[in-house]
Symmetry: C2
């Protein structure tokens, strides 16, 4: 697989950063991740918007222009001959002379990986709730300490993903947004202190055609009255949640509102 | 300068990690930092204790034994011919196949840098308080997002360092512990949800010979009654604080209790 490290396109095995990079020294950087379907990046402009927004929020300079980054992404997709893929752009704090302040030149890495979206509509997952508020919630930083640290706990409990809440206020999953369907068949998703996902944005748009769908402050108590739930992300599109902290939702099967949204999203992306 | 990257001793300029390392992908890793004086690591066992404790808390496997790590550190000090230095051991999540779970083999880096402690007893600094609680407080993780992000704010305000408080509860500086001297001439330092510094530990030990010194829950209100304040760290030993959020302490000069501790610490370390 080929990757870009700054201005060089090289094989992934040879792709390295010097140990003075601020990601290695201090975990400092941001990234974004999109998928390609039939060689076409999905929601490209949304992901670029967020990439540049994350960089700006974290005060990281971006050497390449938006059009240059786009060009390189297409060069990579072409060269790797990988039409169905995930593409990740990572921006780090660069080679910092003092190991603490952001370098004038950041490092930028573009990688591609094989990724074929699994259109299995019968799958569903279980979540465990966990009290945690992501730092710099609206920026997609490299900080996944808590999520990675919790992986063995998830396995032990037999759950599939984590649902963060901040002292009872529902937030998000480490790599996905969370939605629930209440007793009035309204679709609700957390409004604040979250990373606003690109998939989430599109669900809010097209979902409102057939459903009542709102961004709202949600609490852990709202989970008890949820008839359905699902998460959304670039790799998962819409994925039904049928268990939260051991309690079954929708009789353990994806509910009708979720399924309807899944079908619609599928048409929306895959035509 | 020579550095160790896992089992190889190489020049720092050539020292790299592959981009699949979990530090670059997800900011996941820990480290420790000690100084050498006349070629001798200061408080070596304390730093190794904390290094292995941080690794364990973050579920990171360490390939090398404690004695092997020590051996390598001495090899580096010898080879770099740098008797006055800082030595950093960094442990990352390794080359993760899925970019999310900790690899079975972590990566370990040992670096050395020129560092001569500045024994200038007239220096003092100003702090700005900031509401923030470090995640995994008792582990020395790579997460310095907030500290790095705040650097331009510090500069703008003309302050030298940050004092974190968690909703009013005093914690620590990003790379140092915080102490204050109250009206009863007691020396107080925050007790919980902090990284317990090696220098802090020794101050608590030798300081109790001549002073009343306590670990206690401290609040931002306690700052108003502070007669003196100082921070402690491996690179700073004891450094007087004479300004907090613009308010002057000790008439803007290092106070007598702080100066007495500084002298004692100096004897303690340099003999």
């Amino acid at each position: 697989m080929y990757v870009f490290v700054n201005d060089s396109i090289i094989s992934e095995e040879e792709a390295t950063l010097k140990i003075t990079d601020l990601a290695i020294q201090r975990g400092y950087g941001i990234f974004d991740f999109l998928k390609t379907v039939a060689g076409k990046p999905i929601f490209l402009e949304d992901h670029l918007d967020r990439f540049f927004s994350s960089a700006e929020q974290m005060r990281l300079p971006v050497k390449q222009s938006r059009s240059k980054l786009t060009e390189r992404m297409f060069e990579l997709i072409d060269k790797n001959k990988l039409p169905e893929s995930g593409v990740r752009i990572t921006l780090t704090g660069g080679y910092s002379p003092d190991g603490f302040n952001i370098a004038s030149d950041s490092n930028i890495i573009i990688t591609q990986q094989d990724f074929v979206f699994d259109r299995d509509f019968s799958k569903s997952i279980g979540l465990m709730t966990y009290d945690y508020q992501r730092q710099f919630a609206s920026a997609k930083t490299l900080d996944y300490l808590k999520a990675i640290w919790l992986q063995p706990v998830l396995k032990e409990r037999g759950d599939d993903d984590i649902l963060y809440h901040d002292n009872g206020m529902l937030r998000e999953c480490p790599r996905a947004n969370f939605f629930l369907v209440n007793e009035k068949e309204e679709i609700l998703t957390s409004r604040s202190n979250i990373l606003k996902g690109v998939t989430r944005k599109h669900i809010l748009e097209f979902g409102s055609q057939n459903f009542k769908i709102y961004e709202r402050e949600l609490t852990i108590d709202d989970l008890r009255h949820a008839k359905e739930a699902f998460i959304s992300s670039t790799t998962k599109n819409i994925l039904p949640v049928t268990k939260i902290d051991g309690r079954m939702l929708s009789d353990g099967k994806p509910g009708p509102v979720t399924l309807s949204l899944m079908m619609e999203f599928d048409r929306y992306v895959y035509g």
